[in-house]
Amino acid sequence: MKIRFWGVRGSFAMAGREFLRYGGNTTSVELLTDAGQRLLIDLGTGATELAKQLMTSEFGRGQGRLPILLSHTHLDHIQGLPFFTPFFIKGNEIRILGAKPTSGISLEATLQNQLDPHYSPLNGLENLAAGVSIDEIVPGGTIVVPGFEVHTIAVPHGSMWTTAYRISADGKTVTYLSDVEYPNLDEPLSEAIALARGADLLIHDAMHADHDYELRRGWGHSPARAGVIVAERAGAKKLALFHHSPDATDEMIDEVVQRTSASTQVPVFAAAEGSYLEI
């Protein structure tokens, strides 16, 4: 299984020279099996870059099939939807899977609100030329996506819940725990640890540098240390710090990686836009 980070930034897309190495696009992560089956997690602005690549393949001919898992519907995780060009090609089949938002409004109504005619000239999901299906999942269960085995749990994210994913293929496992803040940092939820148990790669919310966290406690995001604690307790083989703060320049992220690496035996890196990585 391969992975590619198309967007690693949290909250807000950051353009500028200080963000070039790690990248300024908001969250979107692609997983590819050895057989070429594809899965996308989240539809931040990073997805628009993947879209350009997809359009040169079967997606440009209206023969693409793509499942997309949403962690939640905060804008930085769905902002790329109206500009994800495979949606505009008839024949493509795109399946969006995600939990019902905590407010109780359906996932479909939420995405319809995003494309409301006030906000978007698309005027609604029905105007996307591709076949789009929206499947509400109930976190806590397993979902079937061709080529992948996916386990889901709900984790707390400020005033709402997000869905975390454990995704296995080709004998490898990736755990995606973004947009999470544990009520007690030193005792992360046992469900989260179980979700990351023995994972080859744990992708974890690291919005805050450890020294910034106290000021931002309760905002729904983790300091870098949270991913370390989960990775160590779960025996994860590698930790990717993810969902970087919009204020974090490349140099600041370098420093967080350095400090975090020094604090643990688990190999740590900061997720960056770029190339395909073998899991």
């Binding site: 930034r9 909250s11 807000f12 897309a13 950051m14 353009a15 500028g16 020279r17 963000f19 070039l20 990248g23 300024g24 696009n25 602005t45 628009t48 870059e49 519907t73 905060h74 804008l75 902002q79 790329g80 109206p82 500009f83 938002p101 905590t102 407010s103 409004i105 939420t110 609100n113 995003q114 409301d116 005619p117 006030h118 906000y119 978007s120 000239p121 698309l122 005027n123 609604g124 105007n127 400020g158 005033s159 709402m160 905002w219 729904g220 919009p246 836009e273």
Partner: protein, 317 residues
């Protein structure tokens, strides 16, 4: 009066090495009078950095006015990330076109609904005031005199002529040209046949725009597309630099600023666009500047020109 560009991109933010010189953030322009009065036009993603700058400058809570051209995401997305909004005592006046029966506060509040953003508008410490604007109905904001102008864009859009300090500039985005397509309140999958009424409406809209731009020093215009891109997507609601030049030439505008760049346009393409249209403008006697993030322009004729000085419009370093 001077204006500063905080976001010049259309549709969605495009970070990355290919856009680093012109900038990747979406629509947001700050205007300042010589006396320091401030008005913000559009609240795209460029507004975050503007907010951070205003926080550094401000002594205590301030009153800001934001003129919105319309409420598509790329023009409002920065509002929840505008840091002065989180300072108690701050007042923010939002001025926008009301195109549907909804209350403006519900439309703006809708972008911070629970599913999209962690804090609802009502919980934001700043006090928001919503003002409906109507094309042709003029009003004053501090040192500025504002004239809203109807534009041609899906679900309605409005440009602004802004007079102050004895000079004026205008913000003309987002808009399609006024010939092939008329934008109303329904989805267009392509150009639709025009009725006689449609043609008359387009003509009236164009005439009113030209009339309002007469005597304006600097016009910031939606020039999202190159001509060949426009031919493919005439129903997307955006113009080309050629169409902007035509309008500015009729109104005898001194300077045109290209703005709302397509997200696909790289810095190298933008350099070519800047150079091409600098030349086209010169033929018509119009100075053409291609906007980039961080650009500040003085509005009004410059006192004395140094002929040796490189034209700043050719592009960012």
């Amino acid at each position: 009066m001077q204006i500063t560009f905080w976001g010049v991109r259309g549709s969605y933010p495009v970070p990355g090495a290919a856009t680093v010189r012109y900038g990747g953030q979406t629509s947001c322009v700050e205007a300042r009078s010589s006396g320091g009065d401030c008005v913000i036009v559009d609240a795209g993603t460029g507004m975050r950095a503007l907010g951070n700058k205003l926080m550094r400058e401000a002594q205590g809570p301030q009153h800001y006015d934001v003129l919105l051209s319309h409420v598509h995401w790329d023009h409002i997305q920065g509002l929840p990330f505008f840091s002065p909004a989180y300072v108690p005592g701050t007042k923010i006046g939002v001025h926008a076109l009301l195109t549907a029966a909804d209350e403006l506060h519900q439309v703006i509040g809708g972008i911070t609904r629970h599913e999209f953003f962690p804090m609802p508008l009502e919980a934001v410490p700043a006090q928001f005031e919503f003002h409906e604007v109507e094309p042709g109905v003029e009003f004053d904001l501090g040192a500025f005199h504002i004239t809203p102008i109807a534009l041609n864009h899906p679900f309605g859009s409005v440009g602004y002529r802004i007079d102050g300090d004895g000079t004026s500039w205008a913000y003309v985005a987002d808009t399609a040209p006024f010939d092939k397509v008329i934008h109303k309140q329904h989805f267009l999958s392509g150009p639709e046949p025009l009725s006689d009424d449609d043609r008359a409406s387009l003509r009236a809209m164009r005439d009113a725009l030209v009339r309002r731009l007469v005597g304006v020093d600097t016009v910031v215009y939606d020039t999202h597309f190159l001509p060949e891109e426009y031919e493919r997507f005439p129903h997307y609601g955006h113009s080309t630099p050629d169409q902007a030049l035509e309008i500015c030439s009729e109104a005898k505008v001194r300077r045109l600023v290209l703005y709302h760049h397509a997200p696909s346009h790289t810095d190298e393409q933008m350099d070519r666009i800047a150079e091409t249209y600098l030349g086209r403008g010169a033929e018509l006697g119009i100075e053409v500047v291609t906007s980039y993030e961080g650009l500040t322009l003085q509005i009004g004729p410059e006192p004395a020109r140094d002929p040796e000085r490189t034209n700043p419009g050719v592009g960012p370093a």
